[in-house]
Symmetry: C2
Subunit: 386 residues, 2 copies
């Protein structure tokens, strides 16, 4: 048997074959593909009491088609990441019912009752009190468990080897961590940002700092990352009166610098704040960097006494967390910049009546986060930039 | 066919089977095993015009026997490292005629006309003008070629995955980068060093700095290393009037921080200097850190314009080299300390009539290199510590 592309009509049989559903006649299926890369189907029983999602990676980028080939092995990385998170934070990811490496397909929890965080924010809703706290905790739980603090040395080496992800890391290395600072056909921006885009390309200090962050991304094997932790990779909602946060789509997962996950989340939080400010809907946006950092730090410190390697002392923990903080700020800066003058932009800004003022503010903030990350030592210092 | 332990009598047939030698009746063999880990045989023709070495990794530590098992896969790491160096610095390693992964055996150049650098130094000889320069160049050539500067991103990820070396890295993580700073049954030292050994175990600042270097060793995937670059891993001599330097035994090779290779060499150079000072045979010992650094730096800078990834700018090169320098000093310090109060000591010191004064000086120097590495910015600053 070899890889086959699943169509809507294949899903009932597929779920029965794989042992997920006994009665294939009682399955209604609809395709709900939404992200750029993959196909997603929702299967549900006629009475609505049971449902599952099936996500398949195609051998190309879904929205581009076969002219942009992309190995479906990225689904292996996603399944591996879910398996690691499931050990330490099962409540913060969708339940995974099975992974089929042959077809690069995941069968997982139906989350259609939840809402993508970015969508909710774009509609003017606040983050609410739990979203950033749960996200920061997730990063702490995953990164601690897959660092040399939480995992035995030999097991870690095997994880590093199994988790290398050349194709998807290359996308980040190029699209996020170099193209916006050079002339590149991928780049585009609002014409009223011409001056800043040119300034950024000519800024030698900025270039060197981004080169540093890029090299760290390529060489710093601290822990397993989500790898693409933006507000479109988080679903939120209520279930039985409880606030639910589910982080999904970890297909960019690899063993890298912990600050990359936090930084991506912070960049998206800061951009959402610019949107809300522009629209006059500012509520709790300005607290999210601090809330996610505090949740990350306190969860990491809570886990510290359980470390497998007690040679690492408390003073080293302080130093390590400080470095994660600093690198997170830098990656936040690169993520903001690339989302405005790079390849893939954010609806947070593009759907504003006038995206220019918010985009200019965000770009300048991004630059400051990159070049001044060493001196910005608290969330309050970051607030002072705004 | 499966792994078999080669004995002296097996070597002629083995070399013929593997296609290295046609006439098996014309081979004289002697075992010359010397290091702790492996067996080495020298095969030569009756007329002395032809010779080869066969090195086999046993499934245990040779000097300890089967009671200390050790995967012979370490020979795979050695063969992989030789293959990488052969691409960029073939003149600085023994010629490799073949690797037999089944039997974990390398067939290689006979270097019995050369001398181990440590042996020569222990006999009171100087380094000579080429040894440290060639060694520094080798580190630059290997590390540049296997860094993100010299190797395409995807190929690098494959190298990282192929080169993980859990068992041998764990030895370094434990024996070099933690045990000397805690109570451990491996540790031993001259009784007149009791006070310093106790001081080092009680030194919180030292512990934190070593924890930092240790975490960097575990996470910083900068380039393929030799992994054990001490003066016992280098052979020197003259051939046809030319000075020859051959670095060998890269079985501890893995993708790690470049400074680890330089640091090990520097530690051994500094200890050799203490020996020479104690014996009154000091000659060029004090120049070797500077000579190897200058050779490393100038070769790395010479290669820089050939980098595959030009996003890395010249200012980033300066920053990268500065970090390599700083980490090298730290690793030099850890190597000195572990060789005096840790598991495996150096004949440089143990064979002195009174090893105590030189050992005390070296230990204190090692500590300074670790805790003050950030402020020691030139070879002259290091000299000033002595």
């Amino acid at each position: 048997m070899s890889y086959r592309i699943l169509e809507t009509d294949d899903i009932p049989g597929y779920l029965r074959e794989r042992g997920h559903w006994d009665d294939a006649t009682d399955i209604g299926v609809r395709e709900v593909s939404d992200g750029n890369m993959n196909r997603v189907f929702l299967a549900s029983s006629a009475d609505g009491t049971r449902s599952l999602a099936v996500k398949q990676a195609l051998p190309w980028v879904r929205v581009a088609g076969p002219s942009w080939p992309m190995s479906p092995d990225r689904a292996d990385a996603e399944a591996r990441a879910y398996a690691q998170v499931a050990k330490v934070a099962p409540d913060k990811i969708p339940a995974i019912h099975g992974y089929d490496p042959e077809n690069h397909a995941l069968v997982m929890e139906d989350m259609s009752d939840l809402e993508v965080l970015r969508t909710r924010l774009n509609e003017g809703e606040p983050y609410g009190p739990h979203t950033s706290a749960r996200t920061g905790e997730l990063v702490a739980q995953l990164s601690f468990a897959t660092s040399d603090f939480g995992m035995e040395s030999a097991e870690r080496k095997a994880l590093i080897a199994a988790s290398v992800s050349p194709e998807l890391c290359k996308i980040t290395e190029d699209v996020v961590l170099s193209e916006p600072y050079i002339e590149h056909e991928h780049n585009h921006w609002h014409e009223q940002l011409d001056d800043l885009a040119a300034d950024f390309r000519a800024d030698a200090r900025l270039r060197t700092e981004v080169a540093d962050l890029r090299h760290t991304f390529m060489t710093s094997a601290q822990a397993l990352l989500h790898g693409d932790l933006h507000t479109g990779s988080i679903m939120v909602g209520e279930r039985e009166g409880a606030h639910v946060v589910r982080v999904f789509d970890p297909e960019f997962s690899f063993v890298g610098p912990v600050g990359y996950d936090l930084g991506l989340y912070w960049a998206n939080a800061l951009v959402s704040e610019e949107r809300a400010r522009a629209l006059g809907t500012l509520s709790d946006h300005g607290d999210q960097l601090r809330l996610s950092w505090e949740a990350f730090e306190s969860e990491f410190r809570r886990l510290w006494p359980t470390r497998v390697d007690t040679f690492f002392d408390d003073a080293y923990l302080d130093r390590f967390l400080r470095r994660v903080w600093t690198e997170s700020l830098g990656y936040a800066g690169t993520e903001i910049v690339r989302r405005i003058i790079g390849f893939a932009h954010l609806t947070d800004l593009t759907t504003l009546p006038d995206p220019v003022p918010a985009s200019r503010r965000a770009l300048l903030l991004g630059r400051e986060l990159i070049v001044r990350r060493e001196e910005l030592s608290t969330p309050e210092h970051v607030r002072a930039l705004l």
